[in-house]
C-alpha cells in the first residue's frame, strides 16, 4: 500500500480526532466589570476612549480659553447639533452631553434648553396649563430664558489604508458664538490619530 492510500485509509480517524479537539477548545463566555475610563482599542472605529478624550479636552479648552466663561459672568449657552461628517455612526450628542456635564460641574456656565429638548420643554409647560394643575403654582408661558451664546461644530475623519496599515484621523471642531452680535467668542479643534497594523 502506498503512503497516499494509507493516508486516505486513516482519514476518518484523523477527522474524528480533529473534530473532537476543535470542540473541546471551546470555553464559556466570561463577563466582568471594567474601568469605564480605561483605554479601549478593540477596533480602530470611533470608541469610548475617543469620545471621552475629545469631550474632556474640549471642555477644558472652553473653560480656560473662552473669555466669556473664564471672566466668571456665568453665560447662558445653548448647544446645537455637531455635524457628523464621518462615515461612522457617531452620536455627536454623546460628546456634547459629556461636555455639558463637565462644564456644568465647573459652575461657570449655564445651559438653556436646546433645539433637541425644546419639544419636551413645550410639552411640559403645556401640560402644566391643564385643569389638573394649580395654576398659581404652574409654570407660566413666556418665562423661558434664551441663551446668549450657541455652541456648534462638526466632526470629520480621514481614513487611509493599505494592506499593512489602517490609519484613521478624527478632528472635532467646536465654536462658541455670541447670538446677539454674531461674534465668535471661542473655537478649538481636537484631533485623534489611530493606526492599526494588520
Amino acid at each position: 500500500m502506498t503512503s497516499t492510500s494509507f493516508a486516505l485509509f486513516r482519514l476518518p480517524s484523523v477527522l474524528v480526532l480533529a473534530t473532537a479537539l476543535a470542540l473541546t477548545a471551546c470555553g464559556g463566555p466570561k463577563t466582568k466589570y471594567g474601568d469605564a475610563g480605561s483605554v479601549e482599542t478593540v477596533t480602530n472605529q470611533f470608541g469610548s476612549t475617543d469620545l471621552q478624550m475629545l469631550a474632556e479636552q474640549m471642555s477644558q479648552s472652553m473653560l480656560s480659553e473662552a473669555p466669556v466663561i473664564s471672566s466668571g459672568n456665568l453665560p447662558i449657552v445653548t448647544v446645537q447639533e455637531v455635524k457628523n461628517k464621518t462615515s461612522e455612526y457617531i452620536d455627536t450628542r454623546a460628546i456634547t452631553n459629556r461636555m455639558r456635564a463637565t462644564l456644568q460641574k465647573s459652575r461657570k456656565v449655564r445651559f438653556a434648553t436646546d433645539q433637541a429638548e425644546m419639544q419636551k420643554q413645550i410639552d411640559e409647560i403645556q401640560r402644566q396649563q391643564s385643569e389638573y394643575y394649580d395654576q398659581n403654582k404652574s409654570t407660566e408661558v413666556g418665562k423661558m430664558v434664551g441663551a446668549g451664546f450657541r455652541v456648534s461644530g462638526e466632526i470629520t475623519s480621514i481614513v487611509k489604508e493599505d494592506k499593512n496599515i489602517k490609519d484613521v484621523y478624527y478632528q472635532l471642531f467646536l465654536s462658541m458664538t455670541n447670538i446677539q452680535t454674531g461674534i465668535e467668542e471661542w473655537s478649538d479643534t481636537k484631533e485623534i490619530r489611530k493606526t492599526t497594523e494588520k
Binding site: M1, T2, S5, F6, L8, F9, R10, L11, P12, S13, L15, V16, T19, A22, L23, A25, C26, G27, P29, T43, Q45, E81, V82, K83, N84, K85, T86, S87, E88, Y89, I90, D91, T92, R93, A116, Q119, E154, T156, E161, D162, K163, K166, K198
Partner: protein, 515 residues
Amino acid sequence: MKPLPGATSLLTWLLVATLSLAGSGCAAFRSYKAEMDKTIALASAGDVDGAIKVLDSNNKSKDKDLLYDMESGELRRLKGDFQGSQVALTSADAKVQAWEEASKLNAARTGGSVGSYLVNDKVRTYEGHDYEKVMVTTLMAMNRMDLGDWDTARVDIKRTHEREAMIQALREDEYLKVTEEARKKGARQSFKELNGYPVQTIDNPEVNALKNGYQNALSHYLAGFVYEALGEPSLAAPGYRTAIELRPGQGMLEDSLGGLDARLAAKDEGYCDVLFVIETGVIPGRASQSFNLPIPVGPQGRWIFISASFPTMPAVAPYNPPSVRIDKDLDVRTAHVLDLDSMARRTLKDDMPGIMLRAFIRLSSRAVAQYQMQEQIAQQQRKGQDTLGMSLGLLALQLGGAVTEQADERGWRTLPAHVTVARARLSRGQHNIDISTGHGRATFDVNLAGPHALVTARLLGGRPFTTPAASPGMPAAPLPAGSKSVAAPGADAVQVSVVNFDYPVAVSTPRRTLP
C-alpha cells in the same frame, strides 16, 4: 477471518457515518428546495396561512432551527402579523447572537459536525449567511416601525449597522485589493460634498458589486430615515452616506443626505415624509446537482466512481426598476438599494471552496471504504469463500452513498430578490399610490397622519392580497376602507402595509414635481 489492513478504518467510517445519520434524523435527506418551493407557491397564490402550515409541518421538531425562525418571520410579516413576525425573528436573532459569541471565542471551530465529512452538508448546523443576519435585524426594525414603535426600532437599527460594520471589517482587505486593481485599470474615486457632507465613491462596477455582495444599502438607508425621524442627524448622515457609497449615482439617495439639515430645520407645515420600501421577486434557492465523480484509490490507483452533489443557483429574471406614482400626477424617483439575488450568489461562490473540500474528504473516505470492501470480496473469492454477504454490503454502501450524497440547499428563501426605495413629501391625509414593476402593478390608498411614514409593499408571484398594518393603540394608520391592491393578470401578488410615525419633527415643504 483475519481482517485486511485498513479494515478498522472501514469499520470506523461505517460506525461514525451511521451515528451521524442517526443523529441528524431526517436532515440528511431533507430537500429544502422542494419544501420551500411549495411554501412559496402557496404564499404567492395568496394563501399565506397555508404556506405557514406547510412550513410548520416540515419543521415538527420542538427545537426550531434558525431557518424556520427566519422563514416564519418573513411569512408572518407578509401576512401582516408583525407581532408574530417579531417573535420569530427575535428567536432567530438569539440564535445568531449565540453563534456570533461562539465564533469570537473560537474562530477555528468546525461550524458544523463531523457528519458533514461523512454524510453530507445538510447535517451541518445552519448558522445563517452574513446578509441573512443583517436582514434579521433590518426586518425586526421594520416590524417595530409597522407596529408604530419607532423608538425601539432604533435599537434594531443600531444593532444592524453594528453588524454591518463587522462585515465591512471582515471584508476590508478584499475591498482594498479589488479597489487597488480597479485604480490601476483607470477607475476613478470621486469625492463630492452634498450640502457639507463628504461622499466618496468609485466608478468601478466590480468594486461596487463586491461591496454590495456583502453590505446592505437598505439597512443603512433605513437607519438614516429612522434616525432622521427621531431627530438625530449625526446618526442619520452616515446612514445615508453609506447607502450612497454602496449604491452610487442615484439622485434619490443623494437628495436624502443633501437635504437632511434643511428637512430637520424646517417648520412643520402639515406634510408627511413618506418612505416607500418596495420588495420584488423571490431570492433564488440553491439546487442540488448530482453526477458521478471518478476517484483513484489503492496502490494501483484503481478508479472508483462515486456519486457527488454540489449546489447550484438557477438564473432569475433581471431587475426591473419599479415606478411610483402618487395621486395620478406625481412621479417619485426610486433607488435600487438591495440586490439579495447577487448576495446569495456571492455567498455561494465564497462557500464553494469549503463545500468542495468537505466533499473531497467525504467522497475520498467513501471511495476508500468501497475499495476495501471490493478487496475483501476479491480475497474471499480467491479463498473460495461465500461473498454474498460482502457483496450485499458493498451494494448497500454504494446505494447509501448515492442516496445520502445531496448538496445543501438551505438558505432563507422567502426573502425578496430586490428592494427598491422611494421617498416623497406629501400633505397629511389620504393619497393614492400606484406602484408598477416588471412583474405587476399595485394601486392602493394610504392615510398619512404624522410627519414621517413608512409604506412597504411586497410583490410576489400569484394573486394579489393586501394587509393593512393597523394595530389598536399604535400610531399606525390603517388602510382606508375601500383601499385595494391590484396586479396584472398572471403578475405578482402585493402585500402592503402603511405606518405613520407621529413624532414632532419639522418637515420641509413638498415637491410636487421630482426630477
